[in-house]
């Protein structure tokens, strides 16, 4: 029997969340590379640019597969139910989102308070690079938190 056909809606919801979390981590890598591109030399920057584009295509491909295989066949009620489930992974996802937002906010406050120590030593960065750095921080914090909350589950059978 095909294993995919036996998955319950709750298992599909769990796998969807894991895929979304993986895509968010890949997006964090893209933003990290984008920031690194600013600091890298010209030859390295070309390589990083290619890596960013390849990763971006990968993430968009993953999300497209997710959308067309999992979400598009569902009714709007089913989609809403999937997002509103209160299972282990759904709660871990929300906790990771909350933690990443809180830690990013704290990091930005600390950086702003220490602007003379930190910001003035950095070369003038374009606004786009600064935004990418903040997004990368938030997404990395989300990914780390999600893995921490979901690692080594219960007594599986």
């Amino acid at each position: 029997m095909n294993a995919r056909s036996t998955l319950s809606p709750a298992e599909v919801a769990d796998r969807t969340l894991q895929l979304v979390a993986a895509a968010m981590f890949a997006t964090a890598l893209i933003f990290c590379l984008s920031v690194a591109e600013f600091f890298a030399g010209e030859s390295a920057a070309v390589f990083i640019d290619v890596a960013v584009k390849a990763l971006a295509v990968g993430v968009i491909g993953l999300m497209a597969v997710l959308y067309f295989l999992k979400f598009r066949p569902m009714t709007s009620d089913q989609r809403r139910q999937h997002l509103a489930e209160d299972g282990f992974l759904q709660i871990a996802f929300r906790r990771a989102m909350a933690r990443s937002w809180m830690l990013t906010f704290l990091a930005l406050v600390v950086v702003q308070v220490l602007d003379r120590l930190v910001l003035e030593r950095l070369p003038g960065m374009p606004l786009e690079t600064v935004i990418h750095a903040v997004l990368a921080l938030m997404l990395v914090l989300f990914s780390v938190s999600f893995v921490a909350f979901t690692r080594s589950g219960g007594g599986d059978e």
Binding site: S8, D86, G87, I91, G153, G154, D156, E157
Partner: protein
């Protein structure tokens, strides 16, 4: 006082001879959710806890109870 929610899901499952996956399917959650509730790692929502008790046809407090956290 520091209390935690404990449960007898494993005992009830053994009595009913069902696996975590079967219980999960019956109440509409994932197996991971059941396994983490069983070991006390995840505190379920009221709805999930009531569905589990209803599945085993016992009062809620026979499945879930508070214990003092040492």
């Amino acid at each position: 006082m520091n209390e935690k929610l404990d449960n007898r899901i494993r005992v009830f499952r053994a009595e009913h001879r069902i696996s975590q996956a079967e219980l999960a399917d019956a109440i509409g959650v994932s197996r991971k959710t059941i396994s983490t509730i069983e070991v006390g790692r995840f505190v379920p929502s009221t709805v999930i806890a009531l569905k589990i008790a209803r599945y085993f046809e016992v009062p809620f407090e026979e499945v879930f109870f508070l214990t003092e956290n040492v």
